[in-house]
Amino acid sequence: MSNGPVLFTRGRSPFATGMASYRDSDVDAPHQPPRVVVRIQPKPLATPILAIVDTAAPWCILKPQIGNLIADDLDELPGRVRLSTRMGLIEGRLFKGWLTLLAQEGESLDLEATFFLSAQWQGSNFLGYEGALERVRFAVDPRENQFYFGETG
């Protein structure tokens, strides 16, 4: 597998330096509306997980079982916050840490990300915009189910 750029701008400088195939549904819920489900690895978790790309979500959201394993290694924002979700208003805490956006081709990216963790959360894992993707160039090829990404510089 190459480590070079995988997508170029019009001026031939790299637009994306990493690419991974994505799933367009949850593995176990194929009949839900199409989504972009990518693979990430929140540190210090030693294994990758699936997360839905959600540019409308301000933060990354992790299942409580995952959050419980990593929270002690994250920086915490003082104070509890409420987040409006499709499941209603839930209360939790914000944490800052690192996650890896994993590449199958090219290079992966380590992102300093903000996580919303709540014991009340019963949904999937989400990769949010202002909490992670705002510093990343990304593009989707829906025909090939490929997610391209790179640093904004």
Binding site: D28, T47, P48, I49, L83, A103, Q104, S108, L109
Partner: protein, 130 residues
């Protein structure tokens, strides 16, 4: 007077550190992250050395991005196997290698204990089957 100084003067007239913290959290809850960042910066300028405000200011700065040597394999074969077995695994945490479902458990902690000694080329992907 600069615009920033003017803004600080206005906040100084009406705010104390605790109310600024509450206002920052309120902006966060309204998902106005840019506003929360700006207010945190102004609050720190107004009350330098206030540990909670400095913590909030540091927390809200845009995150860093660096390239990583981590690599992820194609797991399409394992996802296909999982789709076949999903009904049997509902309510379980599962671990996927490149090719297959290699473990399942009722809790994530149990699953990680099972896969930790496995000699796999890549770390297994873990997932909860709803």
């Amino acid at each position: 007077m600069s615009r920033r100084a003017s803004s600080a003067r206005v906040w100084a007239d009406v705010a104390d550190p605790q109310s600024l913290q509450a206002s920052i959290l309120s902006l966060i809850e309204r998902e106005d992250v840019a506003g929360a960042r700006q207010l945190a910066a102004e609050a720190v300028a107004l009350f330098p050395g206030h540990s909670t405000l400095e913590q909030m200011h540091h927390f809200l700065r845009p995150g860093r991005v660096v390239r990583s040597a981590a690599r992820e394999p194609d797991r399409s074969r394992a996802f296909a196997r999982l789709a076949e077995d999903a009904e049997k695994l509902r309510g379980c945490w599962v671990a996927l290698s490149e090719d297959d479902v290699v473990a399942s458990a009722e809790t994530l902690k149990e699953l990680l204990a099972v896969v930790q000694p496995m000699a796999l080329e890549y770390p297994p992907l873990v997932h909860f089957i709803e």
